[in-house]
């Protein structure tokens, strides 16, 4: 098939949310919301997605930048990952997000790619990306979970017909920080906790977020609960830059005189959404931060994992990363 040649579409660059809603109404299923375009353009070039109208959000006022709020910060969804890396306020309080943002793709992509786009990007399952008619694409088969499937990079948890994983590096960090997503539509604004924003195939097999048609992610709010806590982020990938995580871990621990008061540990690359390691968190609350506690967390991190044919290696990866997160945060 010919690649690298997009099909024709109309490009709109609204300057206000109201205009964007109007365009969404006008084009319906033929509309495509685009932020930095780093994921969108690949879809278009591969012709796996052929929207009639691309609505580019970058000109909408108030969608970029980091603002201090009464309880933490609010980050505009169109803020680039590079801006987040550089922002003094985020650096001071939410080093976990800085670390996660700095592991996304490559510096060139982070200069253009946005936090909202990173959170809303689609899965990297290579069968789905190839434009095959799998469950996620509206078909009735999962190629990755077939006896012929190459599924080294697919999920350990939460499979429900589809075995794809969430590709975002920043999503686990925001779940660990207990962030909320501000979702706007013609009907108004609703705020969704990060943990509920990302959805698995059991909830909706064709979407990876709770965004409904007509809705736009406009901002991310991070509360102060884990401000300046002890953080740990690590991403295991084949390349050091420009690669997606095989498994990643983002952890936020509140530690007082050596004792873990509260903890949120989240893994990426193991489920269709960031996976909270609740059992591991429960196992370490109130305990001293040391290797033994870390081991206890690790032992409770991969329970219920159901490896596919080629991804069993992810189990020790999860355990080892959780160990490090608890020990070294």
């Amino acid at each position: 098939m010919l690649k690298d040649m997009m099909t024709r579409f109309e490009l709109y660059r609204p300057t206000a949310l109201a205009d964007a809603y109007e365009l969404i109404d006008q084009f319906g299923a033929g509309a495509w919301l685009m932020a930095g375009g780093q994921d969108s353009l690949d879809w278009f070039k591969d012709r796996a997605k052929q929207p009639r109208a691309v609505i580019e959000l970058s000109q909408i006022e108030g969608m970029t930048g980091v603002r201090e709020t009464a309880d933490g910060v609010e980050i505009g969804a169109l803020t680039t990952l590079a801006e987040i890396e550089e922002n003094a306020l985020v650096r001071e309080r939410y080093g976990l997000l800085v670390s996660a943002a700095s592991h996304v793709a490559s510096p060139q992509i982070r200069n253009v790619g946005t936090i909202g786009g990173n959170l809303c990007q689609d899965t990297r399952c290579w069968y789905y990306r190839a434009g095959l008619s799998c469950y996620r694409a509206g078909g009735n088969i999962c190629y990755a979970d077939s006896p012929e499937g190459m599924n080294r990079e697919h999920c350990l948890f939460g499979a429900s017909r589809c075995v794809a994983v969430s590709p975002s590096d920043t999503a686990p960090a925001l779940v660990a920080l207990d962030a909320s997503m501000v979702v706007s539509s013609r009907k108004g604004e609703r705020v969704v906790r990060a943990e509920r924003f990302f959805v698995g195939p059991d909830v909706d097999i064709q979407r990876m977020t709770a965004l409904q048609p007509g809705e736009i992610l406009t901002a991310i709010r991070i509360p102060s609960a884990f401000s300046s806590a002890n953080f740990y982020f690590e991403k295991v990938a084949e390349r050091k830059t420009w690669d997606f995580a095989l498994v990643s871990v983002a952890a936020a621990l509140r530690i007082e005189s050596g004792t873990i008061r509260d903890a949120r540990i989240v893994c990426g690359g193991v489920e269709c959404r960031p996976r909270r390691m609740r059992d591991a968190e429960d196992a370490i609350r109130g305990r001293e931060q040391n290797a033994e506690t870390a081991g206890a967390a690790a032992r409770r991190s991969a329970g219920g994992a159901r490896p596919l044919r080629y991804n069993e290696y992810k189990i020790p990866l999860v355990e080892n990363l959780v160990t490090r997160a608890v020990r070294d945060a």
Binding site: L2, D4, P147, E238, L317
Partner: protein, 752 residues
């Protein structure tokens, strides 16, 4: 004198200096023109329909709807490419690989092609072509392909006996000497190990691209990215039933080839489309097409047996080497078998190469083709043997290394060679004394490559202002224009800046073999020296004429003709300016078969750090020591050393073709096929040794390929050292390293 290739041992003024490359400014400013950068008036866009099946019979191709689509000017299938090859042999395979003839042999095999007024129309036309496939069983794994009952890729292929049943083993070749079994009888320690390497692609940044134009008079022109315009001309002309002189091929600037641009793929199709449409046709592969349907290197499965005495002497060596050839027979197992033991002096030695057919694309050369996999298996085993004997791996190699006079395992007896000097340099290198940290390991490995010579032709033109134009027929893939200009300037005795080197098209110069086998600077360097010597003869004649003396009494030194005994001289510029009145233009010419390409050896040192909890490997330090014969332009020699090591690191750690069980390639793009990027590579240190090649006036040996031979083994030895478990399967990606560590811990754990 003119065509005497003996080493002169002269003192150089220019050769060995680091001058600016003549193509540099064009390349950094974007002015250089690559394969896809040429256009012609009225040009059409070509596109190729490819098989989605790994193996299928093509029952019918219906192109009627596509032909009727507005804007479509030609649709072709194999019916438009009648067979002019005689129906068998390598050229027939090339024809069938360019476009399927009744059967699709791999995912991506070309089935039909269109030429249309624009890319969108071409794409729509492809969708309108209906192909009726009958899907057949397929095989993509080397070990599975040789099992009884495996699907047969080429029913016409029989290993030896014509009456035997067809198999996927297209050929078996054996090299070596002595009595191997008797040798193992004398061994105190025998080590046997099996290894596997996955298929990798050269990963050149520029996809295959060409602009073809065939006129109604049957004459054609082809602008193309290639390592060998003459070979492309000969193949394309033959496949299209043209006379060679009817087709002119011009090579564009090349965005990397590494052996992958020594075979034709889309070019005959572009010419056939142009001929049918009677319009120029531009055809450019997408990256996905490059991965699926150009020529990656072989996947391999290799068994090695090595025997040594307690005092550290190798007494017997044996290797069975199965190389995947893709869907058509090649010589890759044979080349691997020839290269396998070339570094060592072994009394009883054998290597057997198997050409294994698979439903994968036709394998092409990739930088020292077949040698890196052989070295991975051999050099891993050599290190294992050193460990078993309690010897230092460098000392063990030195003790068994080939030297001048050693009979090579593949036949010839070596002249002066560089394996011992590279190992001595490794021994002395500060890298070997650097302390290793936690989870770090060090590996050493050696590598060998033959280097080629071959047919070569050059023209050297003295312009009337005294500047010089040099035309060669070997494509410049690694800075050869700078090196050849240096050589011409050195020989003539003029400044480097006064020579401009040009790559000639096939109508302007005699035949040149391709730029492959690290032959560019060796062969065209030799032809350039001879052409310069030819020009000097004429310059002396002109000077003698001006002075009215016998040419015997005119010598040439430092760019001047000097009359014997008299204080008279004429510069090249003065002779050139006078040339219209002294006999017309002055030019030198040479045509040679450049024999005696000196073999090349390298030894590499690699330090890695392995994270035992994630399986991730980081290369922390890397050193290349290699014999260059004579480094004409040291920058580009070092660049070749570093480039080979970088590609080897990717091959060793991350790169691999991932085929699903359905026989389709799952990762045909640079995101999922993971070539290392800057952040994955350390600074690669280099050390150039110069052991002159006696068969070249300047002592030059090829330098381009050997550097990719040792890395797989050097890195495997280092990772094994760091992780405490022997890695026998590349790429050593995090999942594989983690699995190996886990398996070794399970093995070591007390049972019961």
């Amino acid at each position: 004198m003119a065509n005497d290739s003996k080493f002169t041992n002269q003192k150089f003024k220019l050769v060995g200096t680091r001058v600016m490359r003549p193509d540099g400014v064009d390349k950094v400013t974007g002015r250089a023109r690559y394969g896809a950068d040429a256009s012609a008036p009225g040009q059409l866009v070509g596109a190729i329909l490819r098989s989605p099946h790994a193996h299928a019979t093509i029952r019918k191709i219906d192109t009627q709807k596509a032909e009727k689509l507005k804007g479509v000017k030609a649709v072709i299938t194999s019916a438009d490419l009648p067979d002019f090859t005689g129906g068998e042999g390598e050229l027939y395979n090339v024809l069938e690989n360019c476009m399927a003839r009744g059967r699709a042999l791999y995912d991506g095999h070309a089935v039909a092609a269109v030429a249309a007024v624009d890319a969108e129309t071409a794409r729509r036309a492809l969708k309108l072509i209906k192909v009726d496939y009958k899907v057949l069983p397929h095989v993509t794994d080397v070990d599975l392909a040789i099992k009884p009952g495996a699907p047969v890729v080429q029913p016409g292929v029989k290993t030896k006996d014509k009456k035997a049943a067809p198999t996927n083993v297209a050929n078996v070749t054996t090299y070596g000497h002595g009595d191997v079994e008797a040798g193992f009888g004398k061994a105190d320690v025998i080590i046997e190990k099996s290894y596997k390497t996955e298929q990798v692609h050269q990963g050149y940044i520029e996809p295959h691209a060409c602009l073809a134009s065939v006129g109604p008079d049957g004459h054609g022109e082809l602008w193309v990215t290639t390592q060998g315009p003459f070979a492309y001309r000969n193949w394309c002309a033959t496949l299209l039933g043209m006379e060679m002189s009817q087709l002119k091929v011009t090579s564009s600037e090349i965005g990397g080839g590494f052996g992958g641009k020594t075979h034709v793929w889309i070019e005959p199709i572009a010419l056939a489309l142009s001929r049918k449409a009677n319009r120029p046709v531009k055809l450019v592969m997408s990256r996905e097409e490059v991965f699926r349907a150009s020529g990656p290197t072989s996947p391999t499965s290799i068994d090695v047996r090595l025997g040594a005495t307690r005092d550290g002497r190798i007494v017997a060596a044996d290797a069975a080497m199965r190389y995947g050839n893709g869907a058509f027979p090649g010589i890759w197992g044979e080349v691997g078998a020839m290269a396998a033991w070339a570094c060592y002096d072994i009394e009883n030695v054998r290597s057997v190469g198997y050409e294994v057919l698979l439903n994968r694309p036709k394998v092409a050369a990739y930088r020292a083709p077949s040698a890196p996999m052989a070295a991975f298996a051999v050099e891993s085993t050599v290190t294992l043997m050193a460990e078993a004997l309690g010897m230092d791996p460098v000392e063990f190699r030195l003790k068994n290394a080939a030297r001048e006079g050693t009979r090579a395992s593949y036949g010839p007896t070596y002249g002066p060679i560089g394996i011992v000097p590279t190992l001595e340099a490794v021994k002395k290198h500060p890298h070997m004394r650097a302390r290793l940290g936690k989870n770090q390991g060090r590996g050493v490995a050696c590598g060998f490559w033959f280097n080629f010579g071959g047919q070569t032709c050059a023209d050297l033109i003295i312009d009337v202002d005294g500047t010089v134009g040099l035309s060669v027929g070997t494509v410049d893939v690694g800075g050869a224009r700078a090196s050849l200009s240096l050589i011409a300037a050195e020989e003539l005795g003029i400044p480097y800046e006064e020579v401009r080197c040009n790559i000639a098209d096939t109508a302007s110069l005699g035949h040149n073999d391709m730029t492959d086998g690290s032959r560019g600077t060796f062969s065209s360097g030799m032809a350039t020296i001879f052409a310069a010597r030819d020009a000097i003869e004429q310059l002396r004649v002109r000077a003698a004429k001006a002075w009215g003396i016998d040419v015997k009494n005119v010598s040439w030194k430092d760019g001047k003709a000097i009359a014997k005994g008299k204080r008279k001289s004429l510069t090249l510029k003065e002779i050139a300016e006078a040339s219209p009145n002294t006999g017309g233009p002055i030019s030198g010419h040479s045509q040679v078969v450049a024999d005696g390409a000196g073999v090349s050896f390298a030894s590499h040192i690699c330090d890695v750090e392995v994270d035992p909890e994630t399986g991730g490997t980081k290369v922390v330090r890397y050193t290349v020591v290699q014999d260059a014969g004579k480094a004409v332009h040291p920058d580009y020699v070092e660049g070749q050393f570093q480039g080979g090591a970088a590609q080897g690191i990717g091959w060793a750690l991350n790169e691999e073709y991932v085929y699903g069980k359905d026989g389709r390639l799952q990762n045909p793009g640079f995101l999922d096929y993971r070539i290392p990027v800057c952040s994955d590579l350390p600074f690669i240190d280099t050390q150039i040794l110069e052991i002159p090649n006696p068969n070249h006036p300047y002592g030059i040996r090829g330098v381009g390929e050997t550097s990719i031979v040792p890395p797989l083994a050097a890195i495997a030895n280092a990772v094994s050292d760091a992780a405490g478990v022997r890695m026998t399967h590349v790429p050593m990606s995090p999942p594989r390293v983690l699995a190996a560590i886990k398996a070794s811990r399970a093995e070591k754990a007390p049972t019961g």
